[in-house]
């Protein structure tokens, strides 16, 4: 999508509106299943924002991994761990005021930083999937390999944690 046009502006406001509204739902909804599905909507909204940034590969990965895998995993997790009443499954704790104040002050600091900093906005560049792939296998080879180990550790870990829970019942 070309940057600067009316379409781009409209798309940005629409997508960011969807993203933020859904994110608010994730946080404020009392029903955990609703939160989980709205999380998926948030992820898709972010994928849309990546499209407006001309990062097509990122958008695809976001939709596949986050919306497709993570959100579904979360929904399954919710289903597995709640068998009774779902309607009040996601209550807030007693720290509402403290939490709100802390979050607001952090966001305030960030917004100040964003608005007060003179960002060096250049002509801008579009990254292709090819660029990303090349970087993965050259400069960023060590972290790439390390992430492979990390996924293996997560795989082993899920099994180990599961067995650890089993021993107690």
């Amino acid at each position: 999508m070309e940057n600067g046009g009316l379409m781009h502006t409209l798309a940005f406001f629409l997508l960011s509106g969807i993203t933020l509204a859904a994110a608010m739902g994730v946080v404020f909804k009392r029903n955990l299943v609703h939160s989980a599905f709205l999380l998926s909507v948030t992820f898709l909204g972010v994928a849309g924002l990546y499209m407006t940034l001309q990062a097509e590969f990122m958008a695809a990965v976001q939709a596949l991994v986050y919306s497709g895998a993570v959100a579904v995993l979360v929904v399954i997790g919710v289903m597995l761990t709640h068998r009774q009443q779902m309607s009040r499954s996601n209550p807030p704790n007693k720290m509402l005021l403290v939490g709100a104040l802390a979050a607001l002050s952090v966001v305030g600091a960030i917004v100040w930083a964003i608005l007060a900093t003179p960002w060096k906005v250049g002509k801008g560049s579009v990254v292709t999937a090819g660029d990303i792939g090349r970087r993965f296998l050259t400069d960023f080879a060590p972290p790439f390999e390390a992430v492979a180990l990390l996924l293996l550790a997560a795989l082993i870990g899920a099994v180990v944690l599961f067995k650890g829970g089993k021993a107690q019942s």
Binding site: A113, W119, P143, L150, I156
Partner: protein, 472 residues
């Protein structure tokens, strides 16, 4: 691609995979002790090989991965820590209800993560190294979910570590926005004084403060230390801290000095808070794991004073202190393993009368604790001397005075434990059995603490050589 630069990391990873495969080939009911010996032998071999790698300098992968004496010194610290932890965890692992071989595998993965952190020269490698280490710890902390404490520790560590990473990442994204690149060299040139640098820098520092357990991000440490299996606690205490410092010192040496960022002030606050909170909160603790957790918060404060000077003298102190902290830590936790196995608890009452039942272990515990307190002629004294004198040379007299005073306070709660061991009456008359590996580890750790206190020359020379390579 240069494989030689990644030699140590790859070797440890291969060792982990070898253990994983060997586990599949063994009978299900068979003891996995052999795999533990394999891990120890492999790591020891690598430690010996790594001794010959001093002086090899180089930047690889387009400058994103560094090989220098500084990284090597840290990698050896991690290797030594991991070897000793493996050694005294052999019996703990034998008694685990499930997944015994995976314990060693995850421990080795954590070591790989730490090693990558020590060599990282860009934010991506840094992040992935941190996460590899943290993930392995998530699982190790929650290894035995049977107990409430352990569950609480696992959840707390998972949630708080992920949240700390998210905050740190947001800070990194701001740094990327200012500099437009991710490697430390480019960040050093590209970061200019701006509001985003202040906010981003604070967020990155918060992430590090979590890893080294410095206030106000130390809340996880007491509960996680208490709930995790003892060997994991030992590795968490020294590994997470040492790896955090490895990455932090490099960033603060290479990236921030030229940017006008007020980092000495932030470090000063962090260091003072860590020493105060750690030492004062440790006094009323009766559970020894919790006490050691607060003491480790205080140690983070001492270590931070070494970073204030921003020169190699302070970094040398940090390197030296971390190495001897490994030995003091291993000594204390090895004794605690034996006590906990005997009494099924780790309070100050459980350790009472240890001198009559296991005089050797009581001596090891005493030496380890007094070394942490910084009593001469033990190694901790030399380490603190390096740290505080570098701070004084840089003009931070008051923080050194505070550190000295609080070290005296720490002697009080350390001596409380010693008093209980020597003057308290044993809680039961059962004979005290000490497994051979635990005894070997404890005595070795004590010997190292004594030797480096009396004769610190070689290690301090090595630390100095290593520290010089960060300041090019």
């Amino acid at each position: 691609m240069n494989f030689d630069a990644l030699m140590l990391e790859m070797a440890v990873a291969l060792l982990a995979l070898l253990i994983l495969v060997a586990d599949l080939l063994m009978e299900p009911g068979q003891s996995r002790r052999k795999l533990g010996y394999l891990a120890i032998a492999g790591l020891t071999g690598l430690l010996l090989v790594s001794l010959g790698r001093y002086g090899m300098q180089g930047a690889f992968f387009n400058g994103l991965f560094l090989q220098d004496d500084y990284a090597l010194f840290f990698k050896q610290t991690f290797l030594i820590g991991a070897i000793l932890v493996c050694l005294f965890s052999l019996d703990t692992v034998d008694n685990l209800p499930h997944s015994r071989a995976e314990f060693y595998v995850l421990l080795l993965f954590a070591v790989v993560g730490m090693m990558i952190l020590a060599s990282a020269n860009d934010l991506i490698t840094l992040y992935v190294g941190i996460e590899l280490m943290t993930f392995s710890f998530f699982i190790l902390v929650g290894y035995v979910l049977c107990e409430t404490k352990s569950t609480e520790a696992a959840i707390k560590y998972l949630v708080l570590a992920s949240a700390a990473s998210a905050v740190m990442l947001y800070g990194m994204s701001l740094l990327f926005g200012i500099a437009g690149q991710l490697s430390y060299n480019a960040l050093a040139k590209g970061l200019t004084a701006s509001p985003a640098l202040i906010v981003g820098g604070v967020m990155v520092l918060s992430g590090f403060a979590f890893k080294i357990a410095a206030p106000p991000f130390h809340m996880w440490a007491p509960d996680v230390y208490e709930g995790a299996p003892i060997p994991v606690t030992a590795l968490l205490a020294m590994g997470s801290k040492a790896a955090g410092f490895a990455a932090m010192v490099r960033i603060f040496a290479e990236v921030f000095p030229g940017t006008g960022y007020p980092w000495p002030l932030l470090l000063l606050l962090l260091s003072g808070a860590a020493m105060l909170v750690g030492n004062l909160a440790a006094i009323p603790q009766t559970n020894l794991k919790r006490m050691l957790a607060y003491s480790s918060v205080a140690q983070a404060g001492y270590l931070l004073t070494g970073m204030l000077s921003g020169g190699f003298a302070g970094v040398k102190g940090v390197l030296f202190y971390l190495m001897i902290y490994v030995f003091a830590n291993v000594g204390a936790f090895a004794v605690l393993t034996a006590v906990s196995r005997h009494r099924n608890g780790e309070t100050i009452g459980d350790i009472a009368g240890l001198s009559r039942k296991a005089p050797v272990l009581a001596v090891v515990m005493t030496v380890s604790l007094l070394s942490m307190a910084g009593i001469p002629p033990l190694a901790g004294f030399v380490g603190k001397f390096f740290l505080f004198s570098s701070a004084i040379d840089a003009g931070y007299l008051w923080i050194a005075v505070l550190g000295f005073v609080l070290s005296m306070v720490s002697v009080y709660y350390y001596l409380n434990v010693v008093k209980s061991m020597y003057l308290g009456a044993p809680a039961d008359d059962r004979p005290f059995e000490i497994a051979m590996p635990v005894r070997v580890t404890a005595v070795f750790a004590m010997a190292a603490t004594l030797a480096m206190g009396v004769y610190p020359g070689p290690l301090s020379q090595l630390a100095e050589t290593a520290a010089k390579t960060v300041f090019k």
